[in-house]
């Protein structure tokens, strides 16, 4: 017994209007998250870090800068990491010093950082806490970068090491790490520390450890005085540290009187003006885009995999009048470490899933998930509609007219084969997109006048584009005509598949899930073989994952107030693709495989439906 269905046309209209409403509501909800009255003020949840008073007395900023200059001189002399000098300096400050060497061959040359065969050494010194049994540790790291960057960070790190060493109140070992080749060195060190090997790097085992690491800060400082400190939170695969770490940083910036930013943006108090709102929205959008990229945005990003709360602190020197000296930054770090040292448990009280429209405001998972939910519900509504249609399809229904097209039901229900073929073929294309660019780079370099990096990126784009020709080829494999019921079943599968994919993605990395949903949900909702082919195809291509990435590049540049021309934007797009592939190969970022192996095939299924015969 089926209840009488509403006329197909009116049902279609109702559904379309619901879908549009949901979509608009989702977008509006998301944009509303940046509006200050809708957000919560950050607060310290961890009692162990909250009420305890800490005095910051770090005095030796000037000496730290001198050490930094000495470090720079040795770095220039050696032409890289001055390992011996660092070892000696750390030892003289009373640390237990160890080194770790690592080598890494990239799958193809990294043109942004100009490296291919990477060989380096990490140096770290452990300050052993008195009367502590080596069970817990904190990490302070500074990268040893090329050129004149981050010398002050290393100087300050050594200065803090010396100062911390003379204090008795440490309850956790503190590891002072100077890592070479930024993230590659950090990856080697972390894998050495935890004795894992996820990406096939080659590193020497670590000699000294300090137990389970509770928190880590990475320091980047390239000038003697700074105007503000920027906090970087986004880590690998869009993981974020516990919000309490951001709160701690903010609390100390307030206490000591240092300007602090997030995404390079100061917070403003004029939330009720348009410019105030758009400032907050920009800050949040930047965070969303950075998180969606799934790459570590600072050296801290790799710690998060090991459940170590970590953030990068970056000194920024702009043209403001108000300057902060190194002693003050040292005091800020001292305060933060003293409080982290007071921790009795790992940071767990506050949120792990949040967005920040400013450093003092946050949006928790409970507030932002409805925005995604409103988009995802469209897919489910559509799927339900199709399900009902398929269930109600036996002959004898009152009207078979939909959109002026005669619906002809095939004599037999579509075989599994007719559904399975496009599914399998799209996924094969996805696998090709995932594997071929790196495998075929040598061949491409031999036959075309391009560099390895270009070869990889262009191969990826070529395979991606070649996928567009699939529907024609898929049908050759099929016996006979595709039925009307066939595409409905295929679309049902595609809708549910997409809903599950996006849902899971959004749970882990909300930003990525939301951006993909923004572009994929409209086409998934409205695509049928009966829509106008040329227009639909154009829209589909414009909303495909690749093009979404291109828009994101432009939007990101725009938000960072460094707009680029189309030409530069395209070059940036190409480098983003190569970086994505490298991130996956080097650090195990999951965005590239997710897009290539799952999202792109799913989009191809929809493409197949458009060209269903």
């Amino acid at each position: 017994y089926y209840p009488p269905l509403r006329p197909v046309r009116s049902r279609w209209l109702a559904l379309a209007s619901y879908s549009v409403m949901c979509y608009l509501a989702g977008v509006a909800w998301f944009m509303g998250l940046a509006f200050e009255p809708f957000t919560l003020r950050t607060y310290m949840s961890e009692n162990a870090m909250g009420s305890t008073m800490v005095e910051e007395r770090f005095p030796a900023g000037e000496r730290a800068l001198a050490t930094g200059r000495e470090f720079a001189a040795h770095k220039k002399k050696v032409g890289g990491m001055p390992v011996d000098w660092l070892v000696k300096t750390m030892q003289s400050r009373g640390l237990e010093v160890f080194t770790q060497s690592f080598t890494r061959k990239l799958p193809f040359p990294d043109e942004n950082k100009e490296r291919y065969m990477v060989r380096g050494t990490n140096v770290y010194g452990i300050l052993r806490a008195p009367r502590a049994p080596r069970t817990e540790a904190l990490v302070l790291s500074a990268p040893c970068s090329e050129g004149n960057n981050n010398n002050q960070a290393v100087g300050l790190l050594l200065g803090l090491a010396q100062y911390f060493r003379s204090q008795i109140h440490w309850a956790k070992d503190i590891i002072f790490l100077v890592n070479e080749h930024d993230l590659i060195g950090m990856q080697a060190w972390l894998e050495g520390y935890h004795h894992t090997n996820t990406t096939g790097g080659d590193w020497s085992p670590l000699q000294g450890r300090g137990g389970s690491i509770q928190a880590a800060l990475s320091l980047e400082l390239s000038s003697d005085v700074i105007t503000s400190l920027d906090l970087v939170l986004e880590g690998l695969n869009g993981q974020l540290p516990n919000l309490d770490l951001a709160n701690l940083f903010y609390a100390f910036c307030q206490k000591i009187g240092v300007l602090c930013t997030i995404q390079g943006k100061l917070q403003r108090n004029d939330w009720d003006t348009t410019s105030g709102y758009s400032h907050a929205a920009q800050t949040m959008m930047l965070m969303v885009l950075k998180q969606a990229s799934g790459r570590p945005w600072g050296d801290h990003g790799l710690f998060l995999r090991y459940h170590i709360e970590a953030a990068s602190i970056r000194g920024i020197n702009s043209f403001r009048q108000y300057k902060t000296d190194t002693t003050t930054i040292g005091r800020l770090l001292e305060g933060m470490y003293r409080k982290l040292n007071n921790l009795l448990e790992r940071l767990h009280q506050s949120y792990f899933f949040y967005l920040m429209p400013s450093l003092s405001r946050f949006v928790s998972i409970g507030y932002y998930m409805p925005a995604f939910g409103l988009l995802a519900v469209i897919l489910l509504l559509r799927a339900l509609d199709l399900w009902v249609q398929l269930g109600a399809s036996p002959p004898g229904t009152e009207d078979g007219v939909a959109g002026g097209v005669q619906v002809s039901y095939g004599p037999s229900s579509p075989g599994v084969l007719s559904i399975l073929t496009p599914v399998v073929i799209s996924h094969m294309t996805g696998v090709a997109l995932y594997t071929l660019p790196i495998l075929s780079q040598e061949m491409a370099v031999q036959h075309f006048p391009v560099s390895e990096t270009e070869a990889v990126v262009l191969t990826a784009i070529a395979i991606y584009t070649a996928g567009l020709a699939l529907p024609h080829n898929t049908h050759r494999l099929l016996q006979g005509e595709g039925t009307e019921e066939g595409w409905r079943v295929l679309k049902l599968v595609a809708l549910l598949y997409l809903a599950v994919l996006l849902g899971c993605t959004a749970l882990i990395n909300f930003s990525l899930g939301f951006i993909l949903a923004l572009s994929l949900v409209p086409i998934a909702a409205f695509i049928t073989p009966h829509t106008p082919k040329a227009l639909s195809a154009a829209i589909m291509v414009l909303l495909s994952p690749g093009c979404t990435l291109l828009y994101c590049v432009f939007v990101f540049q725009e938000l960072q107030e460094t707009p680029v021309s189309l030409q530069d934007g395209w070059m940036l797009f190409l480098s983003v693709i190569s970086q994505g592939i490298l991130d996956h190969a080097l650090y195990g970022s999951l965005v590239y495989p997710l897009l290539a192996l799952l999202i792109y095939p799913c989009w191809l299924l929809l493409w197949n439906i458009l060209f269903w015969k």
């Binding site: 009367r131 049994p133 003379s166 204090q167 008795i168 137990g211 790992r346």
Partner: protein, 694 residues
């Protein structure tokens, strides 16, 4: 009548007072005699250098020898008493000269080489020789039934830190097993004695440690101990219910030491089969009478120190114990206090046993946190006290300062200087000590107080000889499902392999996959020659793994084992579940080839004939190394808001909505009057027959 009684009381009181005075005088006399004896030892040294070497060994309570004995006891328990005999030869000081010194001649040359130093000693000693010359003629008094010795060893470490080790030894010839008959206590702490006799304890070793001994920076400690609290007890073989006695004993000790030893239960108690053999006399090796437990989380502070100090005969009123001020002792890098109770030989013939109670306290003071960064140490800087007297009850009271690396005073300067030197083989290494005898008033000098000062001459102290054995442990992997425990054992000996015993106790909530156990050295599989594994039982007992592994020379041996993290019941989580759960230290026990033996071909000048065969006694020594404890995070539910909300809502739903729903949906019926007896009977029969009821 009342007055009469009062007189009697007065009489008794006076008698008691007199007795006390006599006894006291007697003790002091004894002490005096013993002073004389120890000086006599020094005289004897001059007479016969070889013999003196042996006697100085006595003064040191040679660690190595003890360790050796322990190992012997482990390997061949039946021989233990006879081995002990050799050592207890040294413990008796009376017939020092009459005994032949078997290897005296070998040592003569070496001593001669250091003659300058010894001569210097003689010159300074000369002034107080005459007044003690006559003492050797006095016949040794009959030994008291109990005696007390105290000593402090100060060892400057290469890192610039300083290591201070106190040892207090009480020996008592009594029989604790007679139960309540032991009632008169003099030097031995009564609270402990009663416990020992009640629970029929044969050996008891307890240690409280705050911090981790950094073997690579500090070398070997005299008495190793794991972070937290460690307790191991051998019961007499007359005890029938060992588990019951153990349970009660831990609770009693918990009270005595103000520690959480009551948390020792079956889930953290094991019975090691090989690693912890009795250190004292006796050939009981049945591990049924052994219990071993570690509480890695135990935090040691003043409240544990105070009861420990109270067990000393002089308390902290006199003697070396005055140095133990808690604000200084706990302003250090490492703090460990221990108590060892065991039976030992009474004399060198070892015809009867006495009970030995040894209380030790080890502290390492940190150079950097002690302010100013000046490489300078004094008793006052370390303890904010100086020494003014020995404990009047002590038969010997000495302070040793390790001057091995400082023969000419080029490394540091020690003041006041002391004429006495002593040599001992400690942990396989031949060490030289400056000795300050506190029972000798001359030690305190004009100021009536002793405040040793060590002032470094060189900014850098030379390289330390790498410890031959050390261990490390860590948890590998990430995520909350599985993990891997890695234990690294380093053999730094350049050419000698030696076997070690590894003991691992892992709580049940880490489910060990024992099939993943691998032991590799130098990249190759290293098959253990002995494995004793006792699997855990959930909520009942921990995993116990003991292995005998041969460590190849100059190598790292890695033992790995995978585990799965169990999901606990929600009441089983600690109040701070996100801190993680502790896994106690592994214990590595080994018979390590001695550094002295390694030295035979080195540049140190010694006669050729003395160094061809490394002498047996010194060729290897027993050593125990503890690895760091582990902190492992288990999958933890979010105990905060959502969890509370769920609990609360469920309660509200169950209680409030449930009963309302029940009321609303229940159909009410008028109850029928109960059927008569005949009908009920008929129904029973019908039910048996399977026919519908009436």
């Amino acid at each position: 009548m009342a007055a009469h009684r009062c007189n009697i009381f007065m009489l008794v009181f006076v008698l008691c007072g007199l007795t006390y005075v006599f006894v006291r005088a007697d003790i002091e006399d004894t002490n005096h005699v013993k002073d004389a004896e120890s000086v006599a030892v020094d005289i004897a040294r001059k007479a016969n250098i070889g013999a003196s070497l042996r006697s100085t060994k006595t003064e040191d309570q040679t660690q190595a020898a003890e360790k050796e004995r322990q190992w012997e006891a482990e390997t061949n328990p039946a021989d233990a008493p006879s081995d002990n005999k050799a050592d207890h030869v040294h413990d008796t000081m009376q017939n020092l000269d009459s005994r032949p010194a078997p290897y005296a001649k070998d040592q003569t040359q070496e001593a001669a080489e250091e003659e300058r130093q010894w001569e210097a000693t003689e010159v300074k000693e000369a002034d107080h020789v005459p007044d003690t010359m006559q003492t050797p003629d006095v016949p040794p008094p009959t030994p008291a039934k109990d005696q007390f010795q105290e000593e402090l060893v100060i060892r400057p470490l290469h890192s610039g830190d300083i290591y201070a080790s106190f040892q207090f030894r009480t020996m008592w010839d009594t029989d604790f097993l007679r139960g309540s008959k032991v009632s008169h206590y003099r030097l031995f702490p009564k609270s402990l004695g009663q416990v020992i006799s009640k629970f029929s304890v044969r050996e008891l070793h307890i240690s409280f440690t705050q911090g981790y001994w950094r073997t690579m920076q500090w070398g070997q400690p005299f008495l190793p101990s794991p972070p937290g609290a460690e307790l191991w007890v051998w019961f007499q073989d007359t005890v029938t219910d060992v588990d019951g006695a153990w349970k009660e004993l831990t609770n009693v000790l918990s009270g005595i030491f103000c520690a959480s030893l009551n948390f020792i239960d079956s889930t953290n108690t094991v019975q090691p089969s090989a690693s912890f053999k009795p250190l004292g006399l006796g050939n009981v090796t049945d591990q049924r009478f052994l219990r071993y437990a570690v509480l890695p989380r135990e935090i040691v502070c003043t409240e544990n120190l105070t009861p420990w100090k109270k067990l000393l005969p002089c308390g902290s009123k006199a003697g070396l114990a005055v140095l133990m001020k808690s604000e200084k002792l706990f302003h250090s890098s490492f703090h460990s206090q221990a108590l060892h109770f065991r039976p030992v030989c009474q004399d060198w013939k070892c015809k009867s046993t006495v009970w030995e109670l040894r209380q030790t306290l080890n502290v390492v003071f940190d150079l950097h946190t002690s302010g100013q960064g000046k490489r300078e140490w004094s008793l006052f800087k370390m303890f904010s006290r100086t020494l003014t007297e020995a404990c009047p009850l002590a038969s010997s009271s000495k302070v040793y300062v390790d001057v091995t690396d400082n023969p000419q005073g080029e490394l540091f300067e020690l003041s006041p200087t002391t004429p006495l030197l002593s040599q001992a083989v400690v942990l396989g290494d031949r060490r030289t000590y400056s000795v300050y005898d506190l029972t000798n008033q001359a030690t305190f000098g004009q100021t009536r107080s002793l405040n040793m000062l060590l002032r470094w001459r060189a900014a850098e102290s030379g390289d330390m000889l790498r410890p031959l054995l050390h261990g490390e442990r860590y948890v590998a992997g990430y995520g909350l499902q599985t993990g891997e425990i890695h234990t690294l054992m380093y053999n730094n000996h350049p050419y000698r392999a030696f076997p070690v015993l590894l003991l691992d106790t892992v709580p049940w909530y880490l489910r060990l996959y024992i099939h993943t156990l691998t032991v590799t050295s130098k990249g190759r599989d290293n098959k253990p020659s002995y494995i004793h594994y006792q699997p855990s039982k959930d909520r009942l007992r921990p995993h116990l793994l003991e292995m005998l592994v041969q460590l190849p020379p100059n190598s790292v041996t890695e033992v790995t084992m995978q585990f799965e993290r169990a999901l606990l019941k929600w009441t089983e989580y600690t109040p701070d579940p996100n801190h993680g759960f502790y896994v106690g230290s592994s214990v590595i026990s080994a018979l390590v080839p001695s550094v002295v033996a390694m030295d035979t071909n080195s540049t140190r000048e010694c006669p050729l004939f003395s160094s061809f065969f490394p002498c047996k006694e010194e060729s290897s020594y027993f050593m125990r190394v503890y690895t760091e404890p582990l902190l492992v995070n288990l999958p933890t539910p979010d105990f905060s808001m959502p969890y509370n909300v769920i609990c609360l809502t469920c309660t509200v739903v169950a209680v409030g909505y449930g009963s309302l729903y029940n009321l609303l949906t229940r159909t009410f019926q008028v109850e029928e009057p109960s059927p008569g007896l005949a009908k009920r009977l008929a129904n029973i029969i019908r039910r048996l027959r399977g026919v519908p009821l009436l």
